[in-house]
């Protein structure tokens, strides 16, 4: 019979790190309280049996105050919805996780759980940090005092995991009484008692008190009244500027590689229809988007470094004041920042927000952040606007786009905030974790998996769209193709944006995935070589159909950028918004208004720029 083990503990105590070692999983660990927002399930096989192990979001007390904490509370009370074929309602064993440097706070939760009657094994993490600070802990005495096995763990190397597994096996074999339901409220006096008890325990088992502030206190600068905010803006600015500037050599490399590959392939292939489809329909499309993969990888890498170090919580603190001005909360910072990678995990991260209003507003703001799928689009459009051979100017332009999206998103959020009739929740509080060196191995693995998952998701869509476009533009005859007929229906909508039907088709196809816009443009204007520079060159000389006016003018390019900044084109975002907002009404209203708004804003901008430039 399989039983269920639950990892529980305070936020950022090292549960996910332990869970990964314990089960051989690879979930993301982040030096930020509130990294895990959903449960994770894995199987643990002992020589004789197999058990389920659950990782849970961190909780401060057994009384939950946000949605992620509620998940843990629900798992504590009833594991049936979380594990397949559960035979029991209650978890058989809890693995309590506490930080060796924070015992006097983290033991309080352990006390609360023990008082409910759960069978427990205690894992004490960060023993390497405690050792470095000269803090000695008598684990044997602690185990006697708590009346449960206590296992020290070194989370950087995984030392102690085998002992933890052994202790779990032994404890599972002993049968205990069933736990009582957890209380739904804890009196202040009870809490005080629990803290005093924890303080006493720590006094009995630990050599010295709290971490002494020694050496250079980097927070004194990063959270300085003046240098703090300035440093924050510089960090964010560098972050966004880096993404294009640093990646551009790698992009050029991939670009040449693809071009050479396609050229040699077409020289080798016979001149038949499928060779045409393969080179012009598929490879050109794939190549035009994958040129931008280094940018995306760099974005994930930089985010990983920030996540590993502990800057995110400081960022949340620094951003609280400006965010609260538009009705949000410092805790919205992390969801919004991860929205710069992808809206889907970002929307899930919004669960850590304690108030319903802040959460809804954050969900409204996330689709307006510049996600990684928009990078290829902006990359192409900026190359067209500024010229392909000016990576620094393009990088500055990219930062400009990021800044404009933030300003735009803030304004939208402020307006939506006025309209939402939900009371704001009280307060912002966050624990600032100790600084850690990011584990390079974790950051790199994460970057690679994320980048590959982008390729895996985008690749098939680009191929399908490529084939579709090829078919539609080849039959019945190249000059009177289906695409022509369909495209001309779009014309009236596009002329106010200063564009013609060919860009319109690319815009429609971008609803499959934003990056498809780039591959569709590459195919529609099929340049002789696939080299990005020559694509840009071809586009420069493209004219509005039936006229001699250039198609891609500053006005129409800026209009397209504005369109992509606002438009919500991602079906997965809609699906996750439905899940997180709890219904279809709000997400659909959001999608429609962002699409219509994008069109209106784009037309407005194009007309204004055209008027201004004469």
């Amino acid at each position: 019979m399989s039983e269920t083990l639950l990892f529980v503990g305070n936020p950022n105590s090292g549960k996910t790190t332990l869970f990964n070692y314990f089960t051989g999983s690879r979930y993301k660990t982040v030096n930020y309280p509130g990294a895990t927002v959903d449960f994770a399930l894995a199987e643990w096989k002992t020589p004789t049996q197999s058990h389920w192990v659950l990782d849970t979001p961190g909780i401060v007390s057994i009384v939950p105050q946000s949605e992620d904490e509620e998940i843990t509370r629900r798992a504590l009370e009833n594991i049936v919805p979380f594990v397949p074929n559960a035979t029991q309602k209650m978890p058989a064993l809890l693995i309590g996780v506490v930080d060796a440097m924070q015992l006097s706070r983290h033991l309080v939760l352990i006390r609360q759980l023990q008082q409910c009657g759960y069978a427990m094994v205690l894992a004490v993490t960060m023993t390497d940090v405690a050792h470095k600070h000269g803090r000695k802990i008598d684990f044997l005495t602690l185990s006697e005092l708590l009346n449960m096995p206590v296992i020290p763990i070194e989370g950087r190397t995984g030392k102690g995991i085998d002992k933890l597994k052994q202790a779990c096996c032994i404890r599972l074999a002993q049968k205990g009484s069933l736990p009582q339901p957890c209380p739904s409220h804890i009196e202040a006096s009870t809490l005080k008692e629990q803290f005093e008890w924890a303080e006493k325990m720590v006094g009995l088992v630990s050599s010295n008190g709290y971490e002494k502030i020694s050496g250079f206190d980097i927070d004194a600068w990063l959270l300085h009244p003046v240098f703090g905010p300035v440093g924050f803006m510089v960090t964010m600015g560098l972050f966004f500027t880096c993404i294009f500037a640093v990646a551009s050599p790698a992009m050029a490399g991939i670009d040449s590689g693809f071009t050479w590959g396609i050229a040699s392939l077409s020289a080798f292939l016979p001149a038949v229809w499928w060779a045409d489809l393969l080179t012009k329909g598929i490879l050109t499309g794939v190549g035009s988007v994958f040129v931008f993969v280094p940018q995306i990888a760099l974005l994930f890498f930089l985010l990983g470094v920030m996540e590993g170090s502990g800057y995110l919580a400081r960022g949340a603190m620094l951003a609280d004041r400006p965010l609260s001005a538009i009705g949000l909360n410092g805790r919205s910072f992390v969801p919004l920042l991860s929205g710069c990678a992808c809206a889907i995990p970002a929307m899930m991260a919004a669960r850590t927000l304690p108030g319903k209003k802040e959460k809804l507003l954050t969900l409204f703001m996330i689709p307006l952040m510049t996600c990684s799928a928009r990078l290829p689009v902006y990359g192409l459009l900026l190359s067209l606007l500024i010229g392909f051979h000016h990576p620094v100017q393009i990088a500055i332009g990219m930062t400009g786009i990021y800044v404009s999206s933030i300003i735009l998103a803030s304004s939208v959020t402020a307006i939506v905030g006025r309209m939402l009739r939900v009371a704001p929740a009280p307060g912002f509080q966050i624990e600032l974790p100790r600084w850690h060196w990011p584990v390079l191995r974790h950051v790199l693995t994460h970057t690679v998996t994320q980048t590959f998952s982008f390729i895996k998701k985008a690749g098939p869509v680009i191929v399908c769209v490529g084939v579709l476009l090829w078919v539609l533009s080849t039959f019945p005859s190249p000059t009177h193709s289906f695409l022509h007929t369909f495209g001309h229906v779009l014309s009236p909508l596009l002329s106010p944006m200063g564009l013609d039907w060919r860009v319109g088709v690319a815009l429609i196809l971008a609803f499959a995935a934003r990056e498809v816009f780039v591959s569709a443009i590459a195919l529609m204007f099929a340049s002789e070589s696939t080299h990005l520079a020559s694509l840009v060159n071809t586009l420069h000389h493209a004219v509005l159909e039936g006229t001699t006016q250039p198609l891609f003018t500053p006005a129409s390019i800026i209009g397209l950028i504005v369109f992509f900044m606002i438009s919500m084109q991602c079906a997965s975002t809609l699906a996750i918004a439905k899940k997180e907002m709890g219904g279809w009404k709000l997400p659909l209203a959001m999608t429609v208004s962002y699409i219509v708004g994008a069109y209106i804003a784009a037309v407005g901008v194009v007309q204004a720029v055209q008027f201004w430039m004469g």
């Binding site: 202040a188 809490l191 927070d219 959270l223 703090g228 004041r321 609260s324 410092g330 307060g427 509080q429």
Partner: protein, 82 residues
């Protein structure tokens, strides 16, 4: 009149200056917020130290029981100190 006088006598966490230590002596205001602050370790009788404070009325950070907690200034007004 007496109520106002009483309030002005109470010293709250947000009035401390950077680097100052104090002892938590009680709570006032929103119940939900107060209990969360207590769960985080701001328990009556515990010694705290105001470590950092941002400008423009931004959040402040206190050290308590070996942890550093960032709290909004307005919320810190709920914590009475001595």
């Amino acid at each position: 009149m007496s109520v106002i006088a009483l309030h002005t006598h109470k010293k709250t966490l947000n009035t401390l200056s950077t680097g100052c230590s104090a002892v938590v002596s009680g709570f006032q205001g929103d119940q939900c917020l107060c209990s969360r602050l207590q769960e985080l370790g701001l328990i009556e009788g515990s010694t705290i130290c105001l470590a950092y404070r941002l400008s423009f009325g931004g959040p402040l950070a206190v050290k308590v029981k070996g942890a550093t907690l960032a709290i909004r200034s307005e919320d810190a007004a709920c914590v009475l100190v001595q």
